[in-house]
């Protein structure tokens, strides 16, 4: 069983019961990267040329991402890791938590390199209602996981586990982050902040894996606990996702009070809805929004192999585990 109270038996990796989790762990290790591999000098030159609204968007994203990575870690540490019995999953989550830490430090590196008023940026998430609402949403589900009354062996306890996992993994990492990535990458599409774009490529590569893990986890838990699979619960889960989309919609209006070249709040929100539909389907739920992806340029940005001219940009395709064969 994946979810439950861990017993001494659960401390053995072998025999591996959830090969998918172990495979994801190994891939995650290969994906290891460090922020200092990216030089930001040219991006600083771009920064000088950016409009106020563009700068606002970049700062706003940083203000969200920097604490968000830590919030994901808290949620994993307090709400996910303790209730899993599988050693393979623990391995993966340990690597994921390092990655979240690495992302936080990566954004920190950006914050320290760009001419930001850092106190101001750090304060944004505490002062912006739309951002506070997003954090409160995550905390709501996470808080439940820390309550003494939670009994993970009961169906209701397991439901709480899934609610929290959906909020953190599916909504925060799988929808909110993706919306932010699209915005960040849109700058590179216009040949600005190219190096930040390379960093985001790496973050997306990691996050794609986090999401694969989360979706696998949910499906496997549902399969092992058939009693959880009810129409009511399905509806509730869809509701959690839709709630997350609504919060993001409000947030994006603060991200783009006016709009910048190529992007405005409506455009980003349509993208959010598009991604949310995908997440719904990935859980076996019906699409809710039925919108197309407005950001067709994402084909170039993320969907096909990238050929990097090594002396022009950081090659983000390398993996670090060769020699083990």
């Amino acid at each position: 069983m994946l979810v439950g109270k861990a017993t001494p038996d659960d401390m053995n990796l072998h025999p591996i019961k959830y090969q998918w989790a172990y495979d994801l762990y190994n891939q995650a290790v290969r994906n290891t990267w460090f922020p200092h591999e990216i030089a930001l000098k040219e991006d600083l030159d771009d920064w000088q040329k950016m409009t106020d609204d563009e700068r606002h968007a970049v700062k706003f994203l940083m203000a969200f991402f920097n604490p968000a990575e830590l919030i994901v870690n808290r949620s994993i540490a307090l709400g996910v890791y303790p209730y899993l019995k599988s050693a393979e999953c623990h391995l993966y989550l340990a690597k994921q938590m390092w990655e979240e830490a690495n992302h936080c430090v990566a954004f920190e590196y950006v914050l320290q390199t760009f001419p930001f008023n850092r106190d101001e940026v750090f304060a944004i998430h505490l002062q912006t209602p739309s951002m506070l609402a997003k954090e409160a949403y995550i905390n709501k589900y996470m808080k439940r996981m820390m309550e003494d009354s939670l009994d993970i062996e009961t169906p209701e306890g397991k439901k709480d586990f899934i609610r929290n996992l959906v909020a953190t993994n599916i909504v925060m990492e799988g929808i909110w982050f993706y919306s932010g990535f699209m915005v960040a990458l849109s700058f590179r599409q216009r040949n600005q902040l190219r190096n930040l774009g390379s960093m985001i490529n790496w973050v997306i590569r990691d996050e794609s894996l986090h999401l694969k893990f989360g979706i696998n986890l949910i499906h496997n838990i549902l399969e092992e606990n058939a009693e959880l699979v009810s129409a009511d619960f399905a509806q509730e889960i869809a509701g959690i996702i839709v709630e997350g989309v609504n919060l993001e919609t409000a947030y994006n209006k603060d991200l783009f009070p006016h709009g910048i070249l190529g992007l405005n709040a409506d455009y980003v929100n349509q993208y959010v809805q598009y991604v949310a539909d995908r997440r719904l389907e990935e859980l076996g739920l019906p699409k809710h929004y039925n919108v197309t992806n407005p950001a067709k340029w994402m084909t170039t940005s993320t969907d096909v192999f990238e050929l990097v001219n090594f002396f022009e940009a950081q090659n983000t395709n390398y993996e670090v585990d060769s020699g083990k064969h």
């Binding site: 591999e37 000098k41 599409q189 216009r190 040949n191 190219r194 774009g197 997306i204 590569r205 794609s208 999401l211 496997n220 699979v229 009810s230 129409a231 009511d232 399905a234 509806q235 869809a238 919609t249 783009f256 006016h258 070249l261 190529g262 992007l263 405005n264 409506d266 455009y267 349509q270 995908r278 389907e281 990935e282 076996g284 019906p286 699409k287 809710h288 039925n290 919108v291 197309t292 407005p294 067709k296 340029w297 994402m298 084909t299 170039t300 940005s301 993320t302 969907d303 096909v304 192999f305 050929l307 001219n309 002396f311 022009e312 390398y318 993996e319 670090v320 585990d321 060769s322 064969h325």
Partner: protein, 937 residues
């Protein structure tokens, strides 16, 4: 959109006028297959991205971007993007022409002389640009229509990277002005500069050959630093190390890529006589250069680029292998510079024989760096004996196979060090009378000697083979003309070139080294219907490079007769009547094994013996050919770079000038001819540009259009080895591997060495894991093999809380000639997502929602095979086709729960607003395409 205003160039605001934008897009779509739908598409997508107060300039960019993001749908959008981009350039460089082609043509020519004179006045151009030329005649020979032969990525790169800039950093020349500037900037010293500039221009403006990057940046300017490559070695004394750092800075500023050999630097721990302390070894000194190149913007456009070279017998070589590792002490790592290893035949032999490999302090073995071939092996063996006898202070040994393994594992995980081979480079050199060649260069195609007082310099241009294909044939006569003009142009360059350090001037003047390359090889193969991975392709490589080599040699010999021989001609192998292919014998004799390369001619019309006699009489240039990677000029010319295969049928390039989609136009045309493009285009993106698993595409096309990862690496080696026979320098042989199997990798690189390759270049490993795709249908549930909530949920029955108000919905594009197509027709033609969701619903038909049906959905009654259709049909039905029918509010229409029906729920927000604007959209007729059509959903 309510009140959308545009900020004009003078700061004034005006009301957004959709009509105006549409007309301008319409003009850009003229003459294309389906202009009306293209206009609609671009106009509506442009409007999606607008915001109140957008500037006119941003509006232009938004329009171009809207065209660009549709290139993956149809390559005709590429043409539109090119035209839209050109328009912005014309307005800036030539002035307002009121969208009148006649007016444009006239102004294009009259403006040319002004462009030259103003350029001179502002210090952008050399005074010779006016003095030497008949500007009227040159203006008359401008071929304006050639501006349109670019791809969008090519034009955008050219403008961003190579075009002269005005004070606002914007491109200050049109493409034809650009080509004419290069041509003029290389013809000052001709007897008839105007006539020769016209000839050079005529070739370059058709992209038949393209000058190297530095030449493109600096030709015609008052500071013509035109060389691409510099190769210098650092000597083992502090003064020379310091000077080398300064030289690296100056050469970077002159926009060259640099090779730096650090083999001569004594090892870490080697004693320093002056202070009785010990040396810190090459690493900290290299780190200074690594940092130095970051400080310099090459030609104002890119930071410095440098590749270190070290021979692998150096005591610190194990540390050198780690220089590019992403973890570890930053002071021991090179973040910007690249690394290459310079391997001897003796090492390769020891790997094969599983012998030991010794590493020494160059302070104690100074001659090893100067020796090659058998002489190296002999001396190396002597040092081993000395080490064994205890006569050397520092040495260590490892099994040669172990070091080989270390090199290749580092290559696989950090893409460094690149493998290059000292002995074939030196043993095959025709300029072997000027000292040992201690390294190759940044891109591993240059093989020139250097010493303390001479820095090697190479000047580049590349032929575009694909440009010489006419009617499915290579036009050999045209190719000959291109080769001869390119060689002449390159030779001219040397007498105009200004270089920042005297050692480089000396190297350049005395050797007059040039490197004519070939690009568009894979492109040409595709057009001729040959698979890269075939004997025919290898034979084609053989024939083409033989022909180019012959013509290049002949032209250099002609120039020697016209202008005199290069300084070190006497004593070179040229002076003994040798041509590159003759030097294979020297290599094979020294190795004692064959490369397997045949030496006879494949072109009957070429008389090599006559040429050998002619060569004896004098050569103008120490070297003639080098096949550069052409990562940029290949893009400019819209063809495949160098001898590289297609990376994939669709992929992206991350360039300084932006991230571009590259889609194989040859393949698209073939698929369009077959009428299957629309069916397969999404699948090609889904498969990340690999068509091998797409059933609709015939298998013979799959042979021709492989990706670089599905092509055998041995094919890369064979193509390069055949070319290397005829090329006096080397080829930047990019390698691509799908497998991470170390034994396989060892075999590949061993084969490359055995077949006589001088160098290999970057290694691309196929990524095992990539980010989630955004624009294709992805459902990770499929890989879990599970169904999640699909067993218990039915229809999408949420009411939409808040439709996303896309601006486009408010201001539909008005294109009057549109033919509306009824939406209902589509409902059964929806694409089948590759997911297994909704299986349960499927069995129930899933058409308009009836709660009663859903009540009985049993978990086990699902049928995955029929599920996908149902999913999509349900969605479409509920949301688009029948918005006035029942659309339930809240939640899933789930088991046992009747949804509340509510009539006339507002239509949900759909992506493309033209859907709702009645006359504003043409829906496709093709059912498959219609399934993708938003209006139809």
């Amino acid at each position: 959109m309510v009140n959308l205003t545009i900020t004009k160039r003078d700061g004034a605001r005006e009301q957004f006028n959709a009509d105006k934008i549409n007309r301008s897009i319409e003009r850009a779509c003229q003459g294309l297959t389906d202009p009306i739908s293209m206009v609609t598409q671009i106009a509506s997508e442009t409007q999606l991205t607008l915001y109140d107060g957008i500037t006119t300039e941003e509006m232009d960019i938004a329009t171009i971007n809207a065209a660009v993001q549709n290139i993956k749908e149809d390559i005709e959008y590429d043409k539109v993007a090119v035209r839209l981009l050109l328009k912005t350039v014309y307005r800036r460089v030539i002035g307002e022409y009121n969208d009148n082609p006649t007016e444009l043509a006239a102004k294009y020519r009259t403006r040319f002389a002004e462009y030259v004179r103003e350029g001179i006045a502002s210090g952008l151009l050399d005074t010779r640009m006016a003095e030497k030329y008949d500007l009227e005649a040159l203006a008359a020979s401008l071929m304006i229509e050639r501006d349109e032969i670019f791809t969008y990525a090519g034009l955008s790169s050219l403008l961003d990277r190579y075009a002269l800039k005005n004070t606002k950093q914007k491109p200050a020349e049109t493409p034809q002005y650009f080509f004419m500037r290069i041509a003029m900037g290389l013809a000052y010293n001709e007897a008839n500069p105007t006539e020769m500039a016209q000839k050079f221009y005529d070739r370059m403006s058709q992209h038949l050959y393209v000058a190297g990057g530095s030449t493109n940046l600096a030709a015609g300017t008052p500071r013509p630093a035109l060389s691409n490559c510099f190769l210098l070695e650092v000597h083992d004394d502090m003064d020379h190390i310091a000077k080398s750092v300064a030289d690296v800075l100056k050469l970077s500023k002159a926009s060259g890529g640099i090779g730096v050999s650090v083999t001569k630097l004594r090892a870490a721990g080697s004693p320093l006589k002056s202070s009785n302390t010990v040396s810190s070894g090459p690493t900290p000194f290299a780190k200074i250069m690594d940092t130095a190149i970051r400080a310099v913007q090459r030609g104002g456009k890119k930071k410095g680029a440098l590749c270190f070279y070290m021979e692998n017998w150096h005591y610190d070589f194990p540390e050198y292998i780690d220089w590019k590792h992403n973890a570890g002490d930053d002071y021991l790592r090179m973040r910007t510079a690249n690394t290459a290893v310079y391997l001897s035949d003796d090492f390769m032999r020891r790997v094969e024989q599983q012998e030991d490999w010794y590493m020494f302090d160059p302070k104690e073995t100074p001659d090893l760096n100067e020796l090659y071939g058998k002489e190296f092996a002999k001396r190396y063996a002597e040092y081993i004996e000395m080490a064994k006898r205890g006569e050397l202070r520092m040495w260590k040994k490892v099994p040669a196979t172990e070091q080989w393994h270390q090199i290749l594992t580092a290559l696989q995980s950090t893409s460094h060090p690149w493998l290059t081979w000292k002995d074939p480079i030196n043993l095959r050199a025709l300029n072997n009378n000027t000292g040992t060649i201690h390294m190759s260069n940044l891109c591993t195609e240059i093989c020139l000697p250097q010493s303390k007082d001479s820095v090697a310099v190479c000047n580049l241009a590349s032929l575009n083979l694909a440009g010489h294909i006419e009617g499915r044939q290579l036009n050999w006569h045209k190719l000959e003309e291109s080769v001869r003009l390119a060689i002449r142009q390159l030779d001219n360059l040397i007498d105009i070139n200004t270089l920042p350090i005297p050692e480089a001037v000396k190297g350049d003047q005395e050797n007059r080294a040039i490197g004519l390359g070939v690009m568009g090889f894979a492109d040409a193969l595709e057009q001729l219907g040959m698979a890269y991975e075939s004997g025919h392709a290898a034979d084609f490589s053989d024939r083409v490079f033989e022909f180019v080599s012959y013509m290049a040699i002949d032209e250099s010999a002609n120039l020697a007769r016209e202008r005199g021989v290069y300084k070190h001609f006497e004593g070179s192998r040229w002076s003994k009547g040798m041509v590159p292919v003759d030097s294979i014998a020297a290599l094979e004799e020294d190795r004692g094994i064959s490369t397997g390369m045949k030496r006879e001619s494949r072109n009957k019309q070429l008389n090599w013996d006559a040429l050998r006699e002619k060569v004896k009489g004098g050569m103008r240039n120490a070297t003639l050919m080098a096949v550069a990677p052409n990562a940029n000029i290949g893009l400019v010319a819209g063809t495949t770079p160098g001898i590289d295969p297609r990376f994939a049928q669709v992929f992206s390039r991350n360039k300084i000038s932006g991230k571009y989609m590259d889609i194989n136009h040859n393949l698209v045309k073939d698929l369009k001819n077959m009428g299957i493009w629309d069916e397969v285009k999404e699948k090609i993106v889904e498969q990340q540009g690999d068509i091998s698993s797409i059933p609709e595409i015939p298998s013979y096309l799959k042979q021709i259009y492989k990706t670089s990862f599905s092509t055998s690496p041995y094919a890369f080696i064979e193509v390069a080895a055949r070319a290397q026979k005829w090329v006096d320098q080397a080829l930047s042989r990019n390698m691509y591997l799908e497998s991470r199997d170390m034994n396989e990798m060892k075999n590949v690189y061993m084969a490359a060495w055995k077949q006589g390759l001088k160098t290999t270049y970057y290694l691309h490993m196929k990524p095992r894991h990539t980010a989630e795709q955004s624009t294709t249908s992805v459902n990770k549930m499929a890989i879990t093999g599970k169904r999640g909530f699909a067993n218990v949920v039915a229809q999408p029955v949420f009411a939409n809380e808040e439709p996303v108000a896309s601006p486009i919905q408010m201001s539909p594009v008005q294109v009057p000639e549109m033919v509306p197509v009824k939406a209902e027709a589509v409902s059964t033609e929806v694409p089948q997502p590759a997911t297994r969701g909704f299986a349960a619903v499927a069995d129930q038909g899933a058409l308009p929602i009836t709660p009663a049906m859903q009540e009985v959905l049993p978990v086990t009654a699902s049928s995955p095979s029929s599920a996908p259709t149902a999913l999509a049909v349900g969605a479409v039905t509920a949301l688009a086709v029948a918005p006035t029918e029942e659309v339930s509010r809240m939640g899933f229409a789930t088991v046992g729960e009747a949804s509340v029906s509510e009539p006339a729920t507002p239509a949900p927000a759909l992506a493309q607003a033209p859907v709702q604007a009645k006359k504003a959209f043409v829906c496709p007729v093709d059912p498959a395409e219609r399934a993708q059509c938003d209006a139809c959903q």
